[in-house]
C-alpha cells in the first residue's frame, strides 16, 4: 500500500487478513487484482494495496488453509489464480469479526470520554 500519500490509509496490523477473508466471503472466488480493487472501492480509494502487500497476506492465508487458490480464466480470457474462502476461513472470519467489533466498541467508549 502506498501509505505516504495524503488521503491514503495505513493498514492496521492484522487487519489485512480479515479484509481479504471478508472480500472473498462477499464476492466469492476472485483473483488478487479483484480483491485489491474491491478494497480500494469500498474504502473510497483510501486503501490501495500493491502486490507486495497483498500477496504475502494471501499466501499466508492459503498456507493456513483459510483460502484456496486455483488457476482459472477471467472474463477477458486472462489466466489468473482465483482465491476462495474455505470453511476454516469462514470460521476464522466470524471469530475475527467478533474480536474486531469488541475492540471497536472498547475504543469507542474510551475515546468518547470527556477530556
Amino acid at each position: 500500500m502506498s501509505n505516504r500519500d495524503r488521503g491514503k490509509t495505513d493498514i492496521l496490523q492484522g487487519t489485512l487478513d480479515i479484509m481479504v477473508l471478508q472480500t472473498l466471503a462477499t464476492l466469492g472466488p476472485v483473483h488478487g487484482y479483484a480483491i485489491a480493487a474491491r478494497l480500494e472501492q469500498v474504502s473510497h480509494g483510501a486503501i490501495q494495496l500493491n502486490m507486495g502487500t497483498l500477496y504475502p497476506g494471501l499466501m499466508r492465508l492459503e498456507q493456513r488453509g483459510l483460502v484456496r487458490g486455483r488457476w482459472g480464466v477471467t472474463e477477458n480470457n486472462r489466466k489468473a489464480r482465483f482465491y476462495a474462502i474455505t470453511a476454516a476461513g469462514r470460521r476464522r472470519l466470524a471469530s475475527e469479526k467478533a474480536d474486531w467489533e469488541r475492540t471497536v466498541s472498547i475504543m469507542h467508549s474510551l475515546l468518547a470520554e470527556p477530556q
Binding site: Y33, A37, N50, M51, E62, Q63, G65
Partner: protein, 141 residues
Amino acid sequence: MTAREWANRLWGTLRRARSDRDLEDELRAQLALAADEERRRGNSDCDAVRTARLRVGGVAQAMAAQFTAGTGHARMKSLRSSNTLHKEVLKAFPGVGVATSRSSCGLVAARFPCRVYNRAAICAVSILSLMIAAAVHVPCD
C-alpha cells in the same frame, strides 16, 4: 490457535511449496489485469503498463516482499515457516520452551544442511514439543 488450525499450518509446511515460477506467473497475470484496466481508462499500451506497474507494484518487488515475509516463496518457505511453526508451538505451550528453545532447534537444523532435512528436523522438534506438552499439561482451574 486451535488444534485444527495448527494441523492446517503443519500440513502447509510439509506439503510442497508453490514454485517460484508459479508465483511469478500469478504476479505477472495481476500486472496484466491492472494494465487492461488502464487501457480501459484510455491509456496507450505503453502508458497502461507503466501506470499499472506504478499502481500495483513490480513483480520483482512483490517477489522480494514474499521473500521477506517468508510466505509462499519456495526458497524461503521451508525454514522461515518452520521457525514460525515452532514459535507458535512455544506460544501455545510455553512450558516446553526450555526443552525446545530456538537454539536447540537451530542446532538440529545446523546438522542437516539440506533444506528437506532441515524442514523435517524442525517439524520433528515441533511435534515432539506437542507430545511433551500433552504429557505434562496440567489444566488450569
